[in-house]
């Protein structure tokens, strides 16, 4: 029997597993050896033995879980081949959040790329996605329906700035995931010329500090002082999405409830969340970019991990590309989860 991708990567209870290298990729349970694509909590969990990830991802994990989040850690340099057991792995930027990477796994002439979460749209806070040619491309499908075509983020940020100009007496509270989305919104605001302080909920302070240390300029980002909330007229305040429905948001002056998320593309979703100013800003690939990326990798086979896999598998079929859903459990979508789920988890 010839060696195939399904020999290189199998599925276990913990997630994707490589028997030849004896490691898991983004395992959802503690394992002896884990390769981590990026720092979001559903992909990067604490309690593994050895962890191999980019330096930035390792530092994000340390901020989130403490320095002892695993027994030993190893930094993966982008673009370098690393030998793990009987396989060679290579990390390349995924464009999703700071430090995010895809992982190419190669042995006996077969190359599989686990893309983790990724996007192609420009993001001033992380390195852009690099295409890695492969035999099997493992992709997410969070926004895997053709209705998800994300607009230019500059227009979305302008919506926020226009609203601040029109309602200068109201606080604008933007719900955004604490790792990645929040910092991207800050960077986009700075690109648009907004130079006033951007106020932060306490939950995003440490990660934002880390972004700055990693060389991402975000300007002045003071933490919201509880007693001062009532004075933040016309301010832009970033908080985790769940905080908007929380008592925390009440004390701001006539707050505008805004959310920065790809889910805002669909009105029913935006309304369900109670968004008054939905900003369609996604850290995942939209439909055209999922399709484009699959084609550019030259992969003859596609495995779809999580999201709207049916449509993407169908599309691959039309293109003559073999495709199957993996039905991986345990991956949400980075605080862009279905309404309600994030709230329960928070």
């Amino acid at each position: 029997m010839t060696f195939s991708a399904s020999d290189l990567l199998t599925l276990t209870r913990e997630g994707l597993y490589c028997p030849l290298g004896d490691f898991h990729v983004d395992p959802t349970w503690p394992v002896p050896r884990a390769l981590i694509t990026h720092g979001h909590a559903d992909h990067a969990r604490a309690g593994h033995g050895q962890v191999l990830a980019t330096g930035q991802t390792l530092r994000i994990m340390a901020v989130r879980y403490g320095e002892d989040f695993c027994e030993t850690r190893q930094e993966a340099k982008l673009g370098e081949d690393i030998r793990v057991g009987d396989v060679t792995v290579r990390f390349a930027p995924a464009g999703h959040v700071l430090g995010s990477a895809q992982i190419a796994i190669q042995a006996r002439g077969v190359r599989v790329v686990v893309s983790g979460d990724y996007k192609r749209a420009p993001d001033p806070t992380c390195l852009p996605f690099e295409v890695m040619p492969c035999d099997v491309f493992i992709t997410e499908a969070t926004f895997g329906l053709p209705v998800f075509r994300m607009p230019d983020t500059r227009d979305e940020v302008q919506k926020l700035l226009d609203s601040v100009a029109l309602f200068p007496e109201r606080a604008h509270i933007v719900g955004a995931y604490a790792l990645g989305k929040a910092q991207r919104v800050m960077a986009l605001l700075r690109e648009a010329g907004y130079d006033r302080p951007i106020y932060l909920h306490g939950a995003m302070e440490k990660l934002t500090e880390l972004y700055k240390q990693e060389g991402v300029p975000l300007g002045e980002t003071p933490k919201v002082v509880a007693a001062e909330r009532g004075k933040l007229h016309g301010a832009i305040v970033l908080c985790p999405p769940s905080a908007i429905q929380d008592v925390w948001s009440r004390k701001f002056p006539d707050p505008v409830a805004s959310f920065a998320s790809g889910w805002m593309r669909v009105r029913a979703r935006a309304r369900q969340k109670g968004a008054e100013l939905p900003l369609c800003i996604s850290d995942h690939s939209d439909w055209p970019d999922l399709c484009r990326t699959i084609r550019e990798t030259g992969a003859g086979e596609v495995w779809v991990t999580h999201g709207q896999e049916d449509a993407l598998v169908h599309w691959c079929g039309i293109q003559g590309i073999k495709a199957k859903p993996l039905h991986l459990l345990g991956y949400g979508d980075d605080g862009e989860a279905e309404p309600g789920v994030a709230e329960v988890a928070a």
């Binding site: 053709p146 029109l166 008592v247 309304r271 109670g274 008054e276 709207q308």
Partner: protein, 582 residues
Amino acid sequence: MNHFAQLLDRLAYEPRRNAKLRLLQDYFSRTPDPERGFALAAMTGNLTFREAKPAMIRGLVEARVDPVLFALSHNYVGDLAETTALIWPAPDVTASLDALTPGRGDAPPPLGHNNPPPHIPTLAEVVETLATVKKADLPARLAEWLDALDETGRWALLKLITGALRVGVSARLAKTAVGALGGHEADAVEEVWHGMVPPYLSLFAWVEGKAERPTTLNPAPFRPPMLSHPIDAETDFEKLDPAAFSGEWKWDGIRVQLSGGRDEVGSQVARVYSRTGEDITGAFPDLAQAITFTGTLDGELLILKESRVLSFNVLQQRLNRKAVTPKLLEEFPAHVRAYDLLTAEGADLRPLPFAERRARLETFVGALDHARIDLSPLVPFATWEDLAEARADPAAVGAGADADAIEGVMLKLRDSPYLPGRPKGPWWKWKREPHLVDAVMMYAQRGHGKRSSFYSDYTFGVWRPRQDGSLELVPVGKAYHGFTDAELAKLDRYVRNHTVKRFGPVREVAYGLNEGLVLEIAFEGVQRSTRHKSGLALRFPRVHRIRWDKPAAEADRIALLETILARGTSEIAPGATLEIPS
């Protein structure tokens, strides 16, 4: 079109009235004629054109998109217009969806004579084209527009042309925003509104101070009505002098205005307007033929059969009809009980005191002598106690069989002119006591706007015996007002601390024979309902008191509500929406 689309998009998500007003004002002040005029027409429901059918839109999109992908998407998004707006492929690329968009990181292809920029249609262009386009040409035009617009633009266009433009803006609010451009009240806009046509160039010129106030050429115009305040029996009466007021019945119908006059060639023009200035003449041809006069009558629309006023439930059957058939006219004859005269034979009577207008009204209605228009009688009283008795038992004080259609009494200051709007002081309404029921909170939902972090909408239920005799709670309504901010904070805390299940923005709270919060609900009546499991729904329910002290098991049983329904005292809630057949 794109600016209009952006406005609609913002309005659709904005819950606050004042914020909507600001968005509208901002749009009207920045948008040139005639674009803003057509936008105003679209929002006030004054555009007429050939509407596109959903089947046509489906046909257009299915010719461009893989049917499986479209079906999956439609299923996910739920709304045809929105799905189409989002999935519509960019033009000038190969037909299949994969090549939809070049990477946003890439430079866009240079525009030139081989690649002209798409022409983005203005709203004015869309409206003008739709008014004249041949049916067979519509799909091609629509496709061109969809190619040129972005997602939001396509959504707004599709909503507009399918006649489903609902963005939570009333005609009144749009007019308020227009008036505010020049510091005018909405009523001032209403005065000149009827008789004007889109794109309202003279209206905008006037509010912006560039032209004189437009003279209305409408011989039967709408006059903004005078509205009343609810009286607080505990505190207001002691400050008021009974001798200064006239009393009238408060009829449980709908407020209308009958306006008549002669046009330039001498033909009679007759109009029936709703309280908000909507022209509802088409729905009431039987009333229109009674408007043989030149003048404006203010009164209550009722169904009168065999000289007896029927209840609001009966009136509703006339209102919620699509077509006005001869059978409908015969079964539910419309009638107006007049209580004010605003103009007569070209004279504006509104500056006159009520007592004088009333005398003129009596003469006017007497001279008119039409079976469909009569006078709302005065309710004589000398003291507030007299009035209280009349309110408690209208039948005993001359209302006779009509008492069922009376929902209280009105007080009108005898020397007050007719003032549009809701001035405080001259007119008071004193409604019949509401019904009360003790119900148990079952679900709570987060509110909107300022209340978006509060669980402020409560579904409540009453006890119903099961077959085996045990009791279960069945929902009978939902209330979201009647409490103070401090009480809301306490209710919110209660909900958060007693949640047993969550469904998105809704929480189910703990309830049962041994636990649960009792809310004393005030309401105006009981209706049959297919929406609630109980088969009943309360009219205009609000939280009257929070019974922190009362055990849930002691809340009321459904039999109480069924008795009220059976008594036929289920007249209308003041908050009920008016649907006019078109």
